[in-house]
């Protein structure tokens, strides 16, 4: 079933068309990877799906219902989660608290003024489970600002997963990571719950072809191709403008 559908999306900044008639689908359990050169409009697309940016035209749908006019927080409550290309974390809070807030958003009660947050053992337990899954347990009590960039990239994903989403948007999760860290992260992404629909922006072609069920190529805001990896790899135009001689 189609979890997430983007339909004829349009967005321009003045004369710059960052999104031109983009249509794509993400199904449950699908890993859909977006590739394209810098400035192709990949992040802008993710921002429009997440609700951080408003499109000029077209629709974003979750489970077949139109969410184009909904705020980011309303989309999140429908099971949409995301990470950011540039780390967007609670820098002065602990690693644990970062994830705990993500769990609280979905499973806690943020308008409970009386009970101590620490007393919500269910929320805390889930936060610890998520930290375990992302192999961040050893860093739980550290301030985010004091952990390595690679660990922060991992925490980005942990925070997004905290609320047990159904759709996960990942904006270049491996950017700036060492080859070892990248491999680790790929293993983690591979091990994510199988029902999760993932839409992921990625540059590293090895990563792309090892993970993707489906690849969409964006070029100057336009979809050049959107298909199974082998079909995309064989596409003449994609080869010309993006993949180059190596494929």
């Amino acid at each position: 079933m189609t979890l997430l559908r983007v339909e004829s999306l349009q967005k321009s900044f003045g004369s710059l068309n960052v999104t031109r008639d983009v249509t794509l689908d993400v199904g449950a359990g699908e890993k859909h990877v977006i590739i394209g050169p810098n400035g192709a409009g990949k992040t802008s697309l993710i921002n429009q799906i997440g609700g951080q940016m408003t499109p000029d035209g077209g629709r974003v749908m979750i489970d077949g219902s139109d969410v184009t006019r909904l705020a980011p927080e309303q989309r999140a409550r429908l099971g949409l989660a995301r990470t950011f290309q540039k780390n967007t974390l609670f820098q002065r809070l602990s690693v644990f608290e970062n994830v705990r807030l993500g769990v609280q958003a979905r499973f806690g009660n943020s308008f409970d003024l009386a009970q101590r947050a620490a007393a919500r053992t269910d929320v805390n337990a889930r936060a610890r489970d998520v930290l375990d899954l992302l192999r961040l347990t050893a860093l739980a009590e550290r301030r985010v600002a004091s952990i390595s960039y690679g660990d922060q990239r991992q925490l980005e994903i942990a925070v997004a997963l905290a609320g047990d989403p159904r759709i996960l948007l990942l904006d270049e999760p491996t950017s700036g990571l060492s080859p070892v860290e990248t491999r680790q992260l790929i293993e983690i992404i591979r091990a994510l719950p199988s029902h999760l629909g993932i839409l992921m922006i990625e540059h590293d072609m090895e990563v792309v072809f090892s993970l993707a069920d489906r690849i969409t190529v964006l070029y100057y805001g336009e979809v050049l191709a959107s298909d199974k990896p082998d079909v995309v790899a064989a596409n003449e135009r994609v080869r010309d403008v993006y993949l180059g001689a190596s494929f």
Partner: protein
């Protein structure tokens, strides 16, 4: 431990200090409540309000008017004051939480100025710039707050109660969400938090505590004038919070006490006391970012390690 010692000292204070010292600390306790209420917004939610006197003043006027015009028992008057301030904060906050940054600062300032000029112009009700005075102080079981010692203990009780409630709020899931808001609003929204509602709720709570302080202030002075709503008053609350240490609750309470003591002692020696306060403020912002409280805490921790 340190807090317990402070509390014992506070209990003994009226019997150690004369009536002058008792009055000074009574006032400090009242302003401490107001400063802590502002800290809930500034320090924990990251919302810098330049118009916090609005809620302090509304609480003070509500107490005075509910007694003078409606003949309400002053104990009930305190409750009315808290609720009126909360309502004012709900209305003002409804508009303010929609914007952020400088616009938020400007809007809170504008609303406070609006209330200030209403208090000055609406002479029939508020007495204009002359203010209103001579209303009843509450009494219970023959103990009247006309007695400075009972007034002191009433304010001490109000302070301890406010500190306890505010701490509970800060340790709750709601409080944690406010801190998240302060740290990164984009992420909070992406996680599904209704950030506007959280901010509004913080605004209303903060206004309610400020109104409580305002009511105590009106009772303490048995007088209220538009000064309580003024820009200068809002500025003083800000100074108290920054001086004491943003986001530490107890810090702003200490800041309020230091501010009042400075005002008393410096202003008796020089008329330029505000200039001196300004210099201290600049030093705080430049060299002691965590305020007096943060400085003391660091110093004590360093002492404990060696």
């Amino acid at each position: 431990m340190g807090e317990f010692v402070f509390f014992l000292l506070a209990l003994a204070w009226p019997f150690l200090a004369g009536s002058y010292g008792t009055g000074l600390i009574t006032e400090a306790l009242i302003f401490a409540i107001a400063a802590m209420s502002l800290d809930l917004l500034m320090g924990y939610s990251g919302l810098v309000s330049f118009g916090h006197a609005a809620f302090f003043g509304v609480g003070a006027y509500a107490l005075a008017l509910s007694g003078m015009k409606l003949g309400l028992n002053p104990w009930l008057g305190i409750l009315v004051a808290v609720m009126t301030s909360a309502l004012a904060a709900l209305i003002i906050g409804y508009f303010c939480v929609r914007v952020s940054g400088v616009a938020f600062i400007m809007l809170t300032l504008a609303f406070a100025q609006l209330l200030y000029s209403a208090a000055v112009k609406w002479r029939g009700i508020t007495g204009g710039s002359d203010g209103i005075g001579g209303f009843d102080r509450p009494q219970i079981a023959g103990l009247s707050l006309n007695d400075p010692i009972y007034m002191y203990f009433a304010c001490l009780l109000g302070f301890v109660l406010s500190l306890w409630l505010l701490r509970r709020i800060i340790n709750s899931q709601f409080g944690h969400a406010l801190v998240g808001l302060r740290e990164n609003e984009t992420r909070m929204r992406a996680l599904g938090f209704s950030t506007d509602r959280l901010k509004l709720c913080a605004f209303v709570l903060s206004g309610a505590f400020a109104g409580f302080a305002g009511a105590l202030y009106a009772i303490y002075n048995s007088f209220i004038s538009p000064d309580a709503l003024s820009f200068a008053q809002s500025g003083m609350f800000l100074l108290m919070v920054v001086l004491g240490g943003v986001g530490s609750l107890l810090g702003p309470a200490i800041g309020a006490a230091i501010f009042l003591l400075m005002k008393q002692f410096v202003s008796s020696h020089t008329e330029h006391w505000l200039a001196i306060v300004g210099i201290i403020f600049v030093c705080c912002v430049m060299f002691f970012r965590s305020g007096v409280y943060g400085f003391l805490k660091q110093w004590l921790e360093r002492g404990a390690r060696t």
